[in-house]
Amino acid sequence: SQTIHQWPATLVQPVGSPLSLECTVEGTSNPNLYWYRQAAGRGLQLLFYSVGIGQISSEVPQNLSASRPQDRQFILSSKKLLLSDSGFYLCASHDSGGLGETQYFGPGTRLLVL
């Protein structure tokens, strides 16, 4: 089965600072990869998904961007953080190009923007 790593686990950043969150996946190849955000006490919102290296689709207009430099690496970035970027960021993987049985989630990064 696949394993998803995310770092850092927790991050406190000032408004206007840059951001880089990393996600790597083991135990699968050619996965679909996803970034979700969960605001406190809320459900999950899909931010970006990727079906392959260099292929990124954005779901909602926002201050963030994503990149996929390698098959099993997915990065979430921002040039200037906003207060509203605070939340719990979850990377997810769905193997076999999305045809695998289920979507697995990483441990998450908790981001607080002050």
């Binding site: 996803y34 459900g43 999950l44 997810a92 769905h94 049985e101 989630f105």
Partner: protein, 114 residues
Amino acid sequence: ELKVEQNPLFLSMQEGKNYTIYCNYSTTSDRLYWYRQDPGKSLESLFVLLSNGAVKQEGRLMASLDTKARLSTLHITAAVHDLSATYFCAVSRRYGGATNKLIFGTGTLLAVQP
């Protein structure tokens, strides 16, 4: 637009009792997922339901799917404290070559009281 609604949003149960969480979705879906989230943690996959009439059981939890009614249920039998968590349902649709973007319900916070 695909929308997912869960009810109830909050459920306080006594140990040993049975109850059901409902998940309604607005348009045709390929798959229906149930996840569990413990406080401050990531999502754990519980069930994936693929077809009309599908039923899956694991321990005290049983999930079912009625695609005609666009309804899934998560039934809890003889609740125990360890089941206290937030439960999310999610549905996915395939768009062209990109697959399995999950749309989440709002979640049901389950608290099992002794």
